[in-house]
């Protein structure tokens, strides 16, 4: 089995944090510009142009897209490699270096109630998964507070079913209004249990913005929800308009006979995530 180098992990996490904060993925930008053509509100169109201009300044000047450079979320997919060091320490070291060297904002606190800043934006929230492969995959997704704060989870009754899920998603987006910096991407996790549904919703946000679910029911939900969300009228930055969401992503998992957990994780237009395979 191959041995993983600690330095490689540190350097990769650092690079991913910097890239994510400075450069919006090209397909997200394309989505924004295609919605700009259909946006009905003149202010909305203006806002979408400002988002495009922001992304070009951030990319050329290596300046953060948003001042909220986020709490760092890492998806760590571990294949068959030998790791003879603390991989979580290495990830945090990568975060530490990126936030210092890249002049990124430290938005992480030591304790949720005493509110003291850790000073280096660590620790990251790391979700680890074992995979049957000869590599590891690291995805870094700095997540801002604005859109995370408006995310919600509900344990529905099975009787509420398909319509209940839709109502909950629409209600969540309606309550969030402009606070999540629309146009948003809506990650929906359905099934599993309480905590699994939340992870499913977050994982859904990591999907390619242009894909759709392989599951027929989820695919139908994604399509219907996108139209219905964009009919609410919230629009870019909540200034009114026809572009509230760029995409809806639904991930599902088997669940208990008595349960129907639904989690909705909202992602602002600063949809930052980057991956690497080591």
């Amino acid at each position: 089995m191959r041995k993983l180098e600690k330095m490689k992990v540190i350097e990769s996490v650092k690079r991913l944090c910097l890239d994510a904060n400075f450069t919006l993925n090209g397909n997200i930008l394309k989505k924004i510009s295609s919605f700009k053509h259909t946006e009905e509100s003149p202010i909305g169109k203006k806002i979408l142009s400002q988002i495009e201009e922001n992304s070009s300044i951030a990319n050329t000047e290596k300046k953060p897209l948003c001042q909220d450079t986020g709490l760092v979320v890492v998806f760590l997919e571990m294949g068959k490699v030998i790791v003879d060091f603390d991989i979580y320490d290495a990830i945090n070291e990568g975060v530490r270096r990126a936030y210092k060297e890249g002049y990124l904002r430290n938005s992480t606190l030591k304790h949720p109630l005493n509110r003291e800043n850790t000073g280096d934006n660590t620790p990251a929230v790391v979700h680890t998964k074992l995979i049957n492969a000869d590599h590891i995959k690291i995805t870094v997704a700095p997540k801002g507070g604005g859109s995370e704060n408006m995310s919600r989870l509900k344990m529905l009754t099975p009787a509420e079913g398909y319509q209940g899920v839709k109502d909950f998603v629409l209600e969540t987006v309606t309550i969030a209004e402009g606070k999540t910096c629309p146009p948003i991407i809506v990650g929906v996790g359905i099934g599993g249990n309480f905590e699994k549904s939340a992870i499913l919703a977050k994982e859904a946000l990591m999907r390619d913005i242009d894909d759709s679910s392989n599951d027929e029911i989820a695919k139908k939900l994604e399509k219907e929800l996108l139209t219905e969300i964009n009919n609410i009228g919230i629009g870019p930055m909540g200034f009114g308009g026809s572009t509230t969401a760029l995409a809806v992503k639904v991930n599902t998992y088997p669940c208990h006979i008595a349960a129907l957990p639904v989690a909705v994780n909202l992602q602002c237009h600063s949809a930052r995530h980057k991956s690497v395979i080591l």
Binding site: I43, N54, Q67, D68, L104
Partner: protein, 180 residues
């Protein structure tokens, strides 16, 4: 429309919800932690570190400035978190606040009562907005890092009048227009 700080009563009266306004002059940054500290100071009859009368507060926690730049990226943070702290500042004559998102129901009444305007800057366009900030000076609470109070000199900083002094609400009006 261009406006200069400090805001005069005439300027305030001319601002209507929906106006795109370019601010030139001095504005102060403060978000959650700095607001809590300021309101504690008011309650303890201590003087505040910034002149509130006729001023504008910008709800922002910028990224650290690079060595050759006045400020890092500096877009607005969500305003409703500052709602519980607004009235004591309005009483001292605060004329404007800049943030993002809708605020609590009572805020429009307060702004109408005390003659103050709520502006929105475009959230998440923080690198773009930094171009309109010409200088930044740390004024108070350095221990709060990005949340410290800073004095910003801005030139044509673009914002939308969202709640004017007449109780108009850009957000409600516009969303209703596009609701299907």
């Amino acid at each position: 429309m261009k406006i200069l700080t400090p805001l005069t009563q005439d300027q305030l009266k001319s601002l209507k919800a929906g106006d795109l306004v370019y601010i030139t002059g001095t504005i102060y940054t403060a978000r959650d932690a700095a607001h809590k500290k300021m309101v504690d100071m008011i309650n303890n009859n201590q003087p505040l570190p910034i002149p509130i009368k006729d001023s504008i507060i910008y709800y922002v926690g910028p990224t650290p400035a690079k060595p050759n730049e006045p400020i890092g990226s500096c877009g607005p943070t969500t305003s409703y978190r500052m709602d519980p702290f607004l009235e004591p500042l309005l009483k001292l004559g605060l004329r404007g606040s800049i943030g993002k998102g809708a605020r609590s129901e009572n805020i429009k009444e307060l702004l109408n009562k005390y003659n103050s305007v709520y502006f929105q800057a475009i959230g998440g366009t923080a690198a773009y907005l930094s171009k309109f900030v010409k200088s930044s000076k740390l004024i108070a609470f350095p221990e709060l890092q990005s949340e410290a109070i800073r004095e910003l000199t801005v030139e044509d900083f673009p914002v939308f009048v969202t709640y004017d002094i007449y109780g108009n609400d850009l957000i409600k009006d516009e969303i209703n227009k596009y609701k299907k």
